[in-house]
Amino acid sequence: MTTDASDAATRALAAGAEARGPEPVEVRRGAFGVHGSGDTSGFGGFTRTVQIPGSSPRPYGGWHDAVVDVLVEDLAGEGLADAVEKVVVDRGELTLFIRRQDLPAVARWLRDDQDLRFELSLGVSGVHYPGDQGRELHAVYHLMSVTHGRRIIRLEVTAPDGDPRVPSLVGIYPTQDWHERETYDMFGIIFEGHPDLTRILMPTDWVGHPQRKDYPLGGVDVQFKGASTPPPDQRRSYS
C-alpha cells in the first residue's frame, strides 16, 4: 500500500536529516570510580561522557533499507508513521527505536508482513541507563526472520524510571512470556497486558530488581593474611 502519509514518512527517514552523532547517556567523573576518599592522585578531575551510537544516515546498507521502508509504509497505513523514532545501524546491526505505545503494532507488522516475516522472537533484554534522563529503562528485543535468510533485527523501547511500563508482546509472540517475566524480575519493567507478570528467577517475596544499576552486587570482604579486600562492586575500578 502506498499513501501520501507513508511517502512523507519515508521521505523524512530517507532525508537523513535526523541523522545525529553519538548520544550522551552519562557523564563519569574521576578515573577510578572512587569518590569522597580524598583522592590525591590528580586523576579526580577527569570526566568522560558515555555515548551510545546515534541515528544513522541513509543508506543503511544491505536489506536494512528495504525492511525500514516496508515497515514504515505498513505503519503509515495505520496512522502510525511516527512509530519508528530512530534508526541506528551499528556494527552491521539494525536497531529500530520504537515509540513505547506503538510496540505491539510494530511487532505485529514485523511478524505478519510477507516482506518482513520476523516469526521468531529471541526474547527481551533490559538495560538500565540511570543517567539517561527520562529514558532510563530500555527494553531490547531481537527478532529473527525464518523466511528471509535468518536475518535479525533489534527493537528498542525506552521508559522512564518513574513510569516503567512497556506494552507486552505475549499476544504476538507467546514465547515472550518468560522473557518478559525475567525482565520484570530483574529491572522492574512492567509489561502491560502480560497474563501473569510475576517474578521468575528471584523468590516471589524478593524486594528490589537486581539487574538495575542502583542495586548493589553484594558480597563480603575477603580476609587474607591480615589484609582485607572489599567485594568487587566496592573496589577501585576504571570509570
Binding site: R91, E93, V127, T175, H179, M186, P232
Partner: protein, 436 residues
C-alpha cells in the same frame, strides 16, 4: 501429595501451593496435586514441576524455576571482558565451551575483532564446539535412557562423553568450566599430543554412538515410550520460540551453523539433521544423527589442523591479547618459565603492560551487539552492551534451555504422568543455563 476427598487435609508450603489447594477445594474435583522437584533425580537439576492430576492424566503443568539462579549476568558487569568467559562457561555446564563461544563471538563483534581472529584459532574453536555438542547430546541421550529405566544407556552415554572430557582436560586443563575461549582467540594452543590422542579415540566414540542406536532406535520399549509422545508441531515451536533439536524434529532445518555461519562453519561439509515426527522419538533421532555430523566436522578439523601447521591462536593485537605464554607443566597449567623469566628479569615494560592488561583489561567502544550461535540446545543469543569501559555494561543471554522449557505445559498437559519425565528429558534443559 494431597488427596482431595471428604476428609481433605492439606499440608502446604509456598505461595502458589496454597493457591492451588484453595482453588481445588473450591472446585470440589477429584484432582491430585503432585509437587515434583526441585530435588528430584529426573528433573535434570533443580527444576520444580507442579502437576495437577486427574487419575494418571496430567491436567495442568506449572514450572517453577530460579533455584539455581546465581546472578551470572550481574556478576559479569563487575569483571573484565576477558573474565566474562569464565562466568559464561558456568551457565550451561554440560556444554560449557558453547557458552564461551557465544559470549566471545558477541564481544568480538562489539569490539570489531571478528575478522582478526587467527585461522588456527577458528578451526580449534570449531573442533571444541563440535566436541561440546557431542558431549551435550550424549548426556541428553544417556540420561533420558536412564530415566526410562535403561541404566546401560546412561553408562554408554557417559562412557563416550568421558573421552570428550579427557580431551578437554588435556587441552584446557579442566574437564568442565574451561574458560578456553577468550575474546580474540583462545587461551592457548593445543598440546602436541592432543590431535593424536583424539584420533585414537575417534573410532571408539563413533562405535559408542552406534551401540546406543543399536540398543534403542528400533527397540519396541523405547519406541513405545517415545513415538507420538510430547508432540509439538512447527507452528507451536515458532510461537514458543523453540529452537535446536526440538524445532528440527518438527521438520524445520533451522541451524545457524548453516544459515548464518560463524567461526568459519561455511568451510565444513555437514548436513542439518531433521525429522518430521515432531515427537520425543524424533528429537532423539535428530540428536543421534547430529552427533555423527559433529564427528564428521571434528574429523575435518583434525585434517585442517594437521595441514595447517603451527600458528597463532590469539589475535595479533597487544592491546587485547595477554602476552601470556601458557603451558601445561608438571604441576598443571601456568605461565611458561621462559616467559616469566623474560618479564621478571629483562623487560620491565612487558611486566607493566602485562599487569595493566590483566588488572585493567582492554576497552570496548560504546554500543551494543547481539550474536547468536547454534548451541547444543538451540539458539544461544548473547546481547552485550558496552559503555566504552573495561567491563561489560550489560550482558544478557538468551538461553535456549530457558526458552524451550516454556513448552513443558504444551508437551505434558493431557498426557499421562509417566510421560512427564520423557517430555522433560526431550527438551534437555540444564538448570545452570536456565536459571543463570
Amino acid at each position: 501429595m494431597t488427596r482431595l476427598d471428604e476428609a481433605a487435609e492439606f499440608v502446604a508450603a509456598g505461595g502458589d501451593w496454597d493457591e492451588i489447594a484453595q482453588e481445588l477445594s473450591r472446585r470440589q474435583e477429584e484432582r491430585v496435586v503432585v509437587n515434583m522437584g526441585p530435588q528430584h533425580p529426573s528433573t535434570h537439576g533443580v527444576l520444580r514441576l507442579v502437576l495437577e492430576l486427574d487419575g494418571e492424566t496430567v491436567k495442568e503443568t506449572r514450572v517453577a524455576l530460579g533455584y539455581l539462579h546465581t546472578g551470572i549476568e550481574k556478576t559479569m558487569e563487575y569483571r573484565t571482558w576477558v573474565q566474562g568467559s569464565a562466568l559464561a562457561t558456568r551457565m550451561d555446564y554440560v556444554a560449557s565451551i558453547l557458552n564461551e563461544a557465544g559470549y566471545c563471538l558477541a564481544v568480538e563483534k562489539l569490539a570489531g575483532m571478528t575478522d582478526r581472529v587467527p585461522e588456527r584459532a577458528q578451526v580449534i574453536r570449531v573442533l571444541m564446539m563440535e566436541l561440546a555438542r557431542v558431549s551435550s547430546h550424549l548426556v541428553c541421550l544417556g540420561s533420558a535412557g536412564n530415566e526410562l529405566g535403561g541404566t546401560t544407556l546412561m553408562t554408554i552415554g557417559f562412557r563416550e562423553r568421558e573421552q570428550v572430557l579427557r580431551f578437554f582436560e588435556m587441552v584446557t586443563g579442566q574437564r568442565m568450566n574451561n574458560a578456553y575461549f577468550r575474546p580474540g582467540g583462545l587461551s592457548q594452543d593445543l598440546p602436541p599430543e592432543a590431535l593424536g590422542w583424539l584420533k585414537g579415540v575417534y573410532g571408539s566414540m563413533v562405535r559408542g554412538m552406534d551401540d546406543f542406536d543399536n540398543m534403542v532406535m528400533a527397540n519396541p520399549i523405547w519406541k513405545a515410550r517415545t513415538v507420538g509422545i510430547g508432540q509439538l508441531n512447527l507452528a507451536a515451536c515458532m510461537a514458543l520460540g523453540i529452537t535446536g533439536p526440538m524445532v528440527r524434529a518438527a521438520g524445520l532445518p533451522l541451524d545457524l551453523r548453516k544459515d548464518k555461519p560463524y567461526s568459519g562453519y561455511e568451510n565444513y561439509d555437514f548436513e542439518v539433521c531433521t525429522a518430521d515426527t515432531a515427537d520425543v522419538y524424533g528429537r532423539y533421532l535428530v540428536r543421534s544423527n547430529e552427533m555423527r555430523e559433529s564427528m564428521k566436522i571434528v574429523a575435518q578439523c583434525i585434517d585442517k589442523l594437521e595441514a595447517m601447521g603451527p600458528g597463532p591462536v590469539m589475535i595479533d593485537d597487544p592491546a587485547v591479547a595477554w602476552p601470556a605464554k601458557l603451558e601445561i607443566g608438571p604441576d598443571g597449567q601456568g605461565q611458561s618459565p621462559a616467559h616469566v623469566k623474560e618479564i621478571m628479569a629483562s623487560s620491565m615494560e612487558s611486566l607493566i603492560h602485562h599487569f595493566k592488561l590483566v588488572t585493567e583489561g582492554f576497552r570496548v567502544p560504546a554500543g551494543q551487539a547481539f550474536h547468536a550461535i547454534e548451541h547444543a540446545k538451540g539458539v544461544f543469543g548473547v546481547h552485550v552492551v558496552s559503555d566504552g569501559g573495561t567491563r561489560p555494561y550489560r550482558v544478557h543471554v538468551r538461553e535456549p534451555s530457558y526458552n524451550n522449557l516454556q513448552s513443558m505445559a504444551a508437551l505434558c498437559d493431557g498426557g499421562t504422568i509417566s510421560d512427564v519425565v520423557v517430555c522433560l528429558a526431550s527438551i534437555d534443559p540444564v538448570m545452570g543455563g536456565v536459571d543463570r
